[in-house]
């Protein structure tokens, strides 16, 4: 056992960190800077990070799930407002289904609560999601289509639907949209591969949450050192220090579970990979909400205004928390893996 990052992994992480430091938003106003967003999008496309999970000639992915998680963490930390999670998920689902990589940007559609990939019942009316009124394409900026699941007798088919109208989602940095139009069948995915896909999705959302937590702690710590009340920095008060210390600790624990979950996607049996990912997701989802709330609290009144970045971190984490299921479904899965109760299957 040696769970240190390799030199290549450190280099990948550093280049993601640098890219987002150069081109990511540094204020809420920056989110409306279309020129900057276009540059960020082009840089991420140029780096090839959205295609890390496309298949090599041997059928495996170009990069490990740990590699993808490292990029996801840095993009989360820097509130990168360009598609990454969506196209990475689509690439993984295509690879696991034995499909050719998509030539154009593509996302994955989810049930309305985001807990599961959307399972389309009626191919002709792709908006008929199996449990809810409409499927949502997530993190789909620049994507014309999204992958959905189609129940077939032997398991699940994978189909493609056009991305429809953009929605105002909770997350100000990643696009959500309806899907509309007929589903075009592409192929099938086995139950084991679907389990692995969900493990991958959970691990990536955890990595994004670790990133948002790091970003939120950095933002709030910087503010606490700079903001003066009673003639001293508010960060000198023990009450404020303890809030931030707890946030850092929650982030570090989250990082440890996420590392294992990401490793497990490629290294563990599918069910074990999913359990490891559920452990990580329960931990990270609880931690991320608290850390996001802490960042707002430390900013005081300013933290409750739209123009403070603190809520942008919290909002981003709320999307990642719900995607593939948050605390509740993850805890159920953890218990089910130990023979207590039943976890939700794919509905």
């Amino acid at each position: 056992m040696d769970v240190r990052l390799s030199a290549e992994q450190e280099a990948l992480r550093d280049s993601a960190a640098k890219l987002v430091a150069d081109l990511g938003p540094t204020s809420v106003a920056d989110l409306d800077d279309r020129d900057r967003v276009a540059k960020l999008d082009a840089a991420v496309a140029g780096a090839g990070w959205r295609e890390l999970r496309t298949a090599t000639d041997a059928g495996g992915p170009w990069a490990s799930a740990v590699d993808v998680a490292l990029v996801a963490e840095e993009l989360g930390r820097g509130l990168a407002d360009t598609a990454f999670l969506g196209p990475s998920l689509a690439a993984e689902l295509r690879r696991l289904s034995g499909l050719e990589a998509s030539a154009v940007p593509e996302a994955v559609a989810f049930a309305p609560d985001l807990g599961h990939p959307a399972a389309i019942v009626d191919r002709a009316l792709a908006v008929d999601c199996a449990h809810g009124d409409g499927a949502l394409a997530v993190d789909c900026a620049g994507c014309a289509s999204a992958l959905v699941l189609v129940p077939v007798p032997e398991g699940h088919g994978v189909a493609e639907v056009p991305v429809g109208e953009a929605l105002d989602g909770v997350d100000l940095t990643r696009a959500t949209a309806t899907v509309a139009g007929a589903a075009v069948p592409l192929g099938n995915v086995t139950g084991d591969d679907l389990t692995r896909f969900r493990a991958f999705g959970l691990a990536l959302t955890c990595a994004d949450l670790v990133g948002t937590m790091r970003g939120a702690v950095d933002l709030a710590t910087g503010y606490a050192a700079a903001r003066h009340q009673y003639g001293v920095p508010v960060g000198s008060f023990q009450a404020v220090q303890h809030l931030l210390a707890d946030a850092l600790v929650a982030m570090e624990g989250s990082r440890s579970v996420t590392l294992y979950a990401a490793w497990g996607v490629d290294a563990l049996a599918p069910d074990d990979a999913l359990t490891a990912a559920a452990v990580a997701k329960a931990y990270c989802a609880r931690a991320a909400r608290t850390v996001g709330e802490t960042a707002i609290q430390v900013h005081g009144g300013i933290g409750n205004t739209w123009d403070c970045l603190a809520h942008v971190f919290l909002r981003r984490s709320l999307l990642s928390c719900d995607l593939f299921g948050g605390v509740g479904p993850s805890l159920e899965r953890v218990l089910a893996a130990r023979g207590i109760g039943e976890a939700d299957g794919l509905r």
Partner: protein, 375 residues
């Protein structure tokens, strides 16, 4: 980046697994019964005699000189077998390794590591808890000896200890951190009086207090030089904050496995609250296992000890207390029942946010030394 065993690690793991299966003494949980402490010394010696203790410590003191990650394997296998955790004395070993000269190391470490000698740590005093440097126990030089006078409290294992790592004031005329020295002192002498303390869960063998009234220690048994005591204390407490040093992953995982078994055997008796608490306990214990994997891997390149130990202590506390809450809601408060083991686990868990430096102190350290917030 690999959580899997190397071939050598896998060989070691299977050897250990086979041995534990045949040699598990089946002691009660360490925090719940005095019977645990009665059997712990024999367990320590059994682990040592079969080559399963002190894996990452130097060969010269009875260790095996292996990478720290082997300690994770021990913790995982002991927990999986429901065996007692490894004895938690790595912090004393590290303190002596860093601060004692060769002579003191040679005379004391082999007995400590092998379990032949039992040790306790005499740091805290009635008026020196978090503010340890204000301690008042005196060590006064008389010829080739020091004479120790003072009162130590919240001393783990003091009732059974042969030796005590005593922190005492050798120079009252310098600032409080600078006047302290450390000694390896025999507990078996007339000037030492021990009294057990009953913890809130009723056990009496873990916790004690010790009165030193003219106890004697050879000057040659000072650890380091006069005035080096504070540095040694900081080394010891920083290791005392590390779950990888303490072997607590095994302790928590074993408790979680027992709680899981309890619910699985009679699921109809457990509603949403105990199930949720159990699920969190499972998640937390697993988090700590993985966190220790990460920390011990970092040590492969000899990362020095720093304030990160306070992060680990806070995580370890979060786990212990989550397990404690699951013990309470799954096991119940034991109203009128003869077996109140789970209540004892719960009550014992409250100590984790105090021992080895309170959670408040750890948060101060994280805020100032990691986050860089102003004092």
């Amino acid at each position: 980046m690999d959580f899997d065993d190397s071939p050598d690690e896998a060989t070691f793991r299977s050897r250990l697994r086979e041995w534990v299966a045949a040699n598990n003494p089946g002691l009660p949980a360490s925090s719940t019964s005095d019977a645990y402490w009665a059997g712990q010394a024999a367990w320590h010696r059994a682990l040592f005699d079969h080559g399963f203790f002190g894996l990452s410590w130097p060969v010269g003191i009875g260790g095996h000189g292996l990478p720290s990650v082997y300690e994770v394997i021990v913790d995982e296998e002991l927990a999986a077998a429901g065996a007692p955790p490894r004895p938690s004395l790595g912090y004393l070993v590290q303190g002596l390794l860093v601060h004692a000269d060769d002579d003191v190391q040679r005379r004391f470490l082999p007995g400590l590591v092998s379990g032949r000698d039992r040790w306790c740590q005499g740091f805290s005093e009635p008026d020196a808890g978090s503010d340890l440097a204000s301690l008042r126990t005196r060590a006064e030089r008389e010829g080739d000896e020091y004479v120790i006078t003072g009162h130590k409290v919240w001393t783990s294992y003091s009732d059974d200890a042969d030796w005590c790592l005593v922190l005492a004031r050798t120079d009252p005329d310098v600032p409080k951190h600078k006047g302290l020295s450390a000694f390896a002192m025999s507990m078996r002498q007339p000037g030492v009086t021990r009294r057990p303390l009953r913890m809130i869960n009723g056990i009496t063998k873990e916790f004690g207090e010790v009165i030193f009234d003219g106890a004697r220690v050879p000057a040659a048994d000072m650890i380091g030089a006069p005035g080096d005591g504070w540095a040694l204390a900081m080394t010891v407490v920083s290791h005392e904050r590390e779950p990888g040093e303490l072997g607590y992953v095994a302790r928590y995982t074993k408790l979680v496995n027992q709680l899981t078994e309890t619910v699985r055997n009679a699921p109809e008796r457990y509603g949403p609250e105990p199930r949720r608490d159990l699920a969190w306990a499972i998640v937390e214990a697993e988090m700590l296992r993985l966190h220790v994997c990460r920390r011990l891997s970092e040590r492969l390149e000899g990362i020095a000890h720093g304030p990160a130990g306070s992060v680990d202590k806070l995580l370890m506390t979060e786990v212990e207390q989550a397990v404690g809450h699951a013990a309470l809601t799954v096991g119940g408060a034991g109203h009128g029942e003869t077996d109140d083991t789970w209540l004892k686990v719960y009550l014992y868990s409250r100590a984790q946010s105090v021992m080895g430096g309170t959670s408040q102190i750890q948060r101060n350290l994280v805020a100032r030394r990691i986050l860089g917030l102003p004092a």
